[in-house]
């Protein structure tokens, strides 16, 4: 079912964009990412609204009072928090659901890139069975080269005269932009636990995404890079970027 609804449309869409954009697969990934972000924009906005609502709630006097009153009783604290959520009509999972829905899309995007690149017979066979009749067979195989990158392989800039080893330029860019994105888009929080979570997210998430970028096909790393930049641009356009938190290495 996921194949029919997500993977197949995505891989065919990617191939059509590649065909339209002069057979430049890097450009196709960039445009494809922008389209996916536009499609998932309502989910992103819902997530932002939910996060903002949570921040406001955590800054309220009643929330602070509950924290103080039930500091030593974890179960009671949770019960009171849930009670407060119900009273003000807030769903704490409202921010998670859009994230969860986006995860299959991320997997679909990775599979689309991986299938379209068709690096080995099983992938090419998989692609052959997924391609819609109206997509030209002459597109296969994809030209995966861009600059010094092979988008089907993890990227390394090999400059033996200078370094003597391969420098993962794209991975570094992904880690830096992931960190920037997390820092810029995390609103300040009055709640200690949220603040601690934000600090850890700004450290661990870039490292995790960096690991993916370092290990998997650089086409995926390119998606992460474009996606990070788009997130910052989107938040900036909405006036929600927290530029002050940039100055702090600690959590927002």
């Amino acid at each position: 079912m996921l194949d029919l609804l997500i993977f197949d449309p995505m891989v065919n869409g990617l191939l059509l964009i590649y065909d339209f954009l002069f057979h430049d697969f890097a450009l196709a990934i960039i445009i494809f990412t922008i389209i996916i972000r536009l499609i998932t924009l309502p989910l992103t906005l819902q997530q932002q609204r939910s996060t903002q609502r949570m921040q406001e709630l955590q800054g309220s006097k009643r929330w602070q009072d509950i924290q103080k009153k039930f500091k030593g009783d974890r179960q009671k604290l949770q019960e009171e928090q849930l009670k407060l959520y119900r009273e003000v009509g807030f769903n704490p999972l409202g921010g998670c659901l859009p994230l969860l829905i986006q995860f299959p899309i991320l997997i679909g995007l990775y599979q689309s890139i991986s299938n379209a690149l068709a690096l080995a017979p099983p992938q090419l066979l998989n692609l052959s069975k997924r391609i819609y009749p109206f997509v030209s067979s002459s597109l296969v195989p994809i030209d995966s080269t861009f600059l010094w990158w092979d988008l089907g392989q993890p990227e390394r800039l090999v400059a033996p005269q200078v370094l003597g080893f391969g420098l993962p330029v794209l991975t570094i860019l992904v880690v830096v932009t992931s960190w920037l994105q997390t820092k810029l888009t995390t609103p300040p929080s009055a709640d200690a636990q949220s603040k601690q979570m934000s600090t850890m997210m700004s450290l661990y998430l870039p490292l995790l995404i960096g690991y993916f970028s370092y290990t998997y096909a650089s086409g995926l790393a390119l998606y992460f890079l474009v996606s990070n930049i788009l997130t910052v641009v989107q938040y900036a356009a909405m006036g929600k970027v927290n530029w002050r938190s940039m100055l702090s290495l600690r959590g927002a």
Binding site: I107, Q111, A120, S128, I131, S138, P141, M197, Y216
Partner: protein, 352 residues
Amino acid sequence: MPVSLRRLLPALALASVALAACSSTGNPWPGIAADAERAYVAFGPAVYGLNLDTGQEVWRYPQEPVRNRMFYAAPEVTESGLVIIGSYDKQVFALEADTGQEVWTFDEAQERIVGGAVASGETVYVPSADGLVFALDADSGEFLWSFDAEGQVWASPLVTDDRVYVGSLSHVVYALDRASGQPVWNRDVGGAIVDSPSLVDGTLVVGALGRPLTALDPANGEPRWTAESDRWIWASATSTDGVTYFGDLGGRLAAASVMDGALLHQIQLESAITGRPAVGEGLLFVATESGSVHALHLDDLGSEWVEVVPSSKLYGPPVLQDQTLLIGVVGRELLVAALDASGGNIRWRFQP
């Protein structure tokens, strides 16, 4: 460890595992060859020599897995008793067919070796994903010549008395002079070629993704005819007695005249046909993705027998050797099934 970190780490780990699991978009299948005494199976970290009668493992190479070394190409057995096999770590190995002992290696390929080597006389021809086709001395591994196809080559070359025919993923069929490797002609057939061409009755037959089966004049590459298919053609065709047999990814098996490509017979099988059919014992043997092996009559594609290999997917071509039909299996329970070609009964199974 802070409470929130304890919550965060499992979530991140789960995300890692999920993405890693999804990075696999298909399973490779074993490459198989055989001679009168043994079956040779290349899969994953090893090449196996098996007793053809019993399926017992006689040898394996290497004894212990070597980092990044994977074998999926079909092995080739030379007249002098060597098994030639290419690996995903860009090397070619020649092994003693009797013992699996390494005789020579060749490491000048710049990319993986996906397609099987082909031996003819004293020369072995090896395709590489870097677009090069290497001609090596079969007994010593000495480099003789190479040809740059300017596109990945996954298909085994087709070797005749004076020509080497090569199909590339970049849609082009090349005819090379066998002695020197110099190109004689080339022809763009419009689709990626993943299996080797076949030559019968003076006609070169080529299967290409998204294109009809195409027949070329082997002398100059001029098109002669095409035979349509409903879905993409993955495997190449098998030709005998003036008839060429080919399957497509929709499971349609067709028989066409080698003379003009006219459709003679067609049948619909249950799933994709990705392995070139095998001919022998007056029958045509076809494996389908969903695990069925069909023995069909050559004259009308009528069924002689069908055997289902349970819990398996079949992608590679059936290999017929002395009444034994060897089937490479993608599945958890076995790697090779050996069937009786006359009745379809399973003689033995092999799982390393």
